[in-house]
């Protein structure tokens, strides 16, 4: 199948999601269920990654800043900006593409193969609205939250590693955090989080929803969805950085 055929079908799937829900309460329940599955379910791995990523950033930045003329507070500034601009949104979303993406693709794929999607269609339920939309909306709600949590935990991890190893004191780290802080960076990180959330929910949903065959094809669809999501995240990351950080107006 050509790229354009697949892309067209992906767009049609997204278009098909917009229809009047048969029963608002059931859709709300499904949305909340997805929020819990995608958000709470990924919280542990996000927390672990974030703390270590911040800690490693502090240690590696300190290792590279060997000049006595550079104040120690600079380490905190670098850790803060690295975590906010790149690590929290991009790295966490790439991990989530694996965790959340494979879950969405395999769940929908299994429902397709075992005719559960057909059963819903026969009942008169728009399966794109009932199955795909709550996942995408839930991802758009919880993934930016996870990115914010990741940013906070990342910076905390950096501070913890810095103070425990004696690279810099907590006071110097805090001072560094506040120096030259640009709130625009947080806005940029959230734009990235929303974009990546859409990518890591809609692409696996597409691959899972249209899977054909059996267990082997579900596995293949799941893997393919993660690979495509990761590539799209990196592509979108570059595009957003170019548009929002390096364009003449920024």
């Amino acid at each position: 199948m050509t790229f354009f055929t697949e892309f067209g079908r992906y767009l049609l799937m997204l278009k098909g999601m917009f229809s009047k829900p048969e029963n608002g309460r059931m859709y709300w329940k499904e949305f909340m269920h997805q929020c819990s599955e995608l958000g709470i379910g990924s919280l542990g791995i996000v927390a672990i990654i974030s703390v270590f990523m911040g800690a490693v950033s502090t240690l590696q930045t300190a290792y590279q800043l060997v000049s006595p003329f550079i104040p120690k507070a600079t380490i905190a500034q670098i850790v803060r900006d690295t975590v906010i601009l790149e690590f929290a949104p991009t790295l966490v979303c790439i991990v989530l593409a694996g965790v959340v993406g494979s879950k969405i693709a395999s769940e929908l794929g299994n429902m397709r193969v075992s005719e559960q999607i057909d059963a819903l269609e026969i009942m008169g339920i728009n399966t794109k609205t009932y199955l795909v939309m709550p996942k995408i909306v839930a991802a758009l709600v919880v993934i930016p939250m996870l990115v914010v949590i990741s940013g906070v935990l990342g910076i905390w991890g950096g501070k913890f590693a810095g103070t425990v190893t004696g690279i810099l004191s907590a006071q110097i780290f805090d001072r560094g955090l506040l120096q030259y802080f640009q709130p625009y960076n947080v806005f940029f990180a959230l734009i990235k989080a929303y974009t990546f959330a859409f990518i890591i929910s809609s692409i696996p949903a597409y691959y899972g929803y249209y899977v054909k065959g059996g267990a082997l094809e579900i596995g293949r669809a799941s893997t393919k969805s993660v690979v495509v999501s990761c590539i799209m995240i990196l592509f979108a990351d570059y595009l957003l950085a170019q548009l929002l950080l390096n364009s003449p107006g920024a």
Binding site: E22, N23, R25, S114, E115, Q116, E121, I122, M123, G124
Partner: protein, 269 residues
């Protein structure tokens, strides 16, 4: 009443259904039979709207399914119940939630009313005490019965069953057949069953359509099937020697040649 007119469906170059027309009789158990790959499942999927035919018409009480708008189609689909080959129960929900799902989606009844209805249909399919069991904990026959319960919970007008006996032992198959037949009469449903199980044909087929390589080869009742001279149908229905002998005996019986046990013994020699 469901009427299909000149339905054609192909996948790529392969023609799967080649101009099939038939009328599914109201309040009766209509059987679509045929060998694997004869197009019966595709025909059923076209009838329920899971596949779009290349040409032809599917009429529900005179209204063309393909020309209905989304709202009318949704309304019609709420009058359709379907039992899938693999039961298609929702893995993440226990039996009670599976059966209650259509009620939750399409009614505004209280929980107590919905639970009463769920227990009523579960009782009707002879399943008690399994409300909190998950599909993975059920046997094949039980899954089929939960599938039937879910299909009839909204009191549908049409019941479609895709190979209801596949993967079941003969005894359980007979139970499922009997259940489908009883429900058809009790709820006055138009039932359409896809099968290649000969017990089903002989037990439940009020009206039978035999498909062969995408074409309707024969149509009639289960009484007529015994006396049919269609070679392909006979080869399919009476595939084993045992069934062929049974057919011969039935024909002889009908002609009055078997009058007593002695004649029967002679025939069996």
């Amino acid at each position: 009443m469901i009427e299909i007119k000149n339905i054609k469906k192909s996948f790529g170059d392969k023609i799967v259904i080649d101009g099939v027309s038939a009328v599914m009789q109201s309040g009766k158990c209509n059987l679509i039979i045929g060998t694997s790959g004869s197009g019966k499942t595709v025909l059923m999927k076209c009838m329920v709207g899971l596949l779009v035919p290349d040409s032809g018409e599917i009429l529900y009480n005179g209204k063309e399914f393909g020309h209905m708008n989304t709202e009318h189609r949704k309304e019609l689909r709420q009058q359709i119940g379907m039992l899938f080959q693999g039961s298609a129960l929702f893995d993440s929900m226990h039996v009670e939630k599976n059966v209650m799902f259509p009620l939750n989606m399409f009614t505004h009844d209280t929980y107590a009313e919905k639970l009463r209805r769920v227990n009523e249909v579960l009782d009707r399919v002879n399943l008690n005490g399994v409300n909190k069991k998950f599909p993975a904990e059920l046997s094949g026959g039980m899954k089929k019965r939960v599938g039937i319960a879910r299909a009839i919970v909204l009191n549908p007008k049409y019941l479609f069953c895709d190979e209801p006996n596949s993967g079941l032992d003969p005894q359980t198959s007979l139970l499922i057949d009997k259940l489908i037949q009883e429900i058809t009469i009790e709820y006055n449903i138009t039932t359409i069953v896809n099968t290649h199980d000969m017990n089903s044909v002989m037990e439940t087929g009020d009206h039978i359509i035999y498909m062969y390589q995408g074409l309707k080869e024969w149509e009639g009742s289960r009484k007529e099937i015994i006396f049919s001279k269609n070679k392909r149908l006979n080869d399919f229905i009476f595939a084993s020697e045992f069934l062929r002998d049974a057919k011969d005996m039935r024909m002889l019986e009908a002609k009055g040649k078997i009058d007593n046990d002695r004649d029967m013994d002679e025939l069996l020699k």
